[in-house]
Amino acid sequence: MDTILPASGGFTADPMTPRPFLVTKRRKELSDTFTLELSAADGKPFAFKPGQFNMVYAFGVGEAPISISGDPDQPETLVHTIRAVGKATDALGMLAEGDMVGVRGPYGNPWPVEEAYGDDVVFVAGGVGLAPLRPAIYRVLTERERFGRVVIYYGARTPEDMLFRKELQAWRARFDVSVHVTVDRVTGKWGGKVGVVTQLIKSGGFDRHASTAFVCGPEVMMRYSAEALVERGLAKTDVWLSMERNMKCAVGICGHCQLGGSFVCKDGPVYRYDVIEKPMAVWEL
């Protein structure tokens, strides 16, 4: 049987069968968050688009939907940044270099980076929400000349909870990227901004008539960030969010991740704000 979905990803002949990957590097990011670098056991590259996710299988324990956090232009290394929040992700956190995991994917709609050509690009990330945005940031920086201003707004719980701190510093050091960071609360020494990430958006720094915004973080943060962007003049059709639900099959069969009239695994996880605005406000969903 031919592959059902692109063979460049993590699919074997059966999309429900994981493809084996080797853990080549493990890095602790935060107290509960770590990054795994993986390479396919068969040596083939893993093509994906920014914003897509995989079902990552800790053998004998279970699968978890994890966004890809690596560079889409380096498909030989698959990178996942994972927060340990349950059995499967805890088990993934116990893995060491040389261990194996199973990968199904890539799944879901990507960030529409190409649609932002010619626009200013605004990234709004909260907490570990920076991980699913990082591939889009890499892609935009790779094609930097195709975009106007590039602005990154990042909010973290405390200075110690800032993800990818060195990369944020490296991006901030560039002359063609604006990086603004804020923390909700201060611990220890911190000379930066204090307050919620929506406050950063209010300061502007992008063309309200020609910008595309990509937002990722806790759902409440995304809702208020989207509202702040619209308040600054962006059209709802220019604001994109990445949703998270309890994904199981990841191919739109099981219905676990249903959100209103859509399945997050298949129709998302990246949605345009005008499409997702109403379902987001329904707490039963």
Partner: protein, 160 residues
């Protein structure tokens, strides 16, 4: 008065005062003055008379609460273009928090007693000033509520 004319222009250029006509700006400029604070300097302290509000022209200000034995707890930072202080509008006109300059801060301050008197005399200016302050206060309230949510806290363990 060249001093007031300069402040008049500063106020006119600030988004907070957009929509005020020249007469109203001149009225408020009569209550305004330039101020400078060095890094680390207290701008006001909780409980002190809220006798001014500030339009930050340059620098970063930390709004803090004194919480012994933890020391100063920063609640929010404000920067260029933002408005600092609304306690001057609410009796008994005392600051609710501390404010401290994190960097060199240049600001225009507006004297509260002077402004309250002018607002009493000219309700139109007072009403329009309140129209501008209420969104600032609502915005700070929303931000404080979001901060209280601790949105980025570790999720409770799930089945997976």
């Amino acid at each position: 008065m060249p001093h007031i004319e300069g402040l008049d222009r500063l106020l006119a250029e600030h988004p907070f005062f957009q929509g005020f006509d020249a007469a109203a700006l001149a009225l408020m400029a009569g209550c305004a003055r330039n101020e400078k604070f060095d890094a680390g300097q207290n701008i006001f302290k909780q409980g002190d008379p809220a006798d001014r509000f500030f339009i930050i022209r340059h620098g970063q200000v930390s709004i803090e609460i004194c919480a012994p034995p933890k020391g100063r707890l920063p609640l929010q930072t404000l920067g260029e273009g933002e408005v600092l202080g609304w306690s001057w509008l609410v009796a008994p006109y005392a600051w609710s928090f501390d404010a401290r300059a994190l960097t060199l801060v240049r600001a225009v301050s507006l004297d509260a007693v002077c402004l309250r008197k002018k607002c009493e005399e000219n309700h139109d200016v007072g009403y329009r000033l309140l129209q501008r302050f209420i969104p600032v206060m609502a915005d700070r309230l929303t931000a404080a509520r979001l901060q209280l949510q601790d949105l980025y806290a570790p999720a409770k363990a799930k089945a997976l």
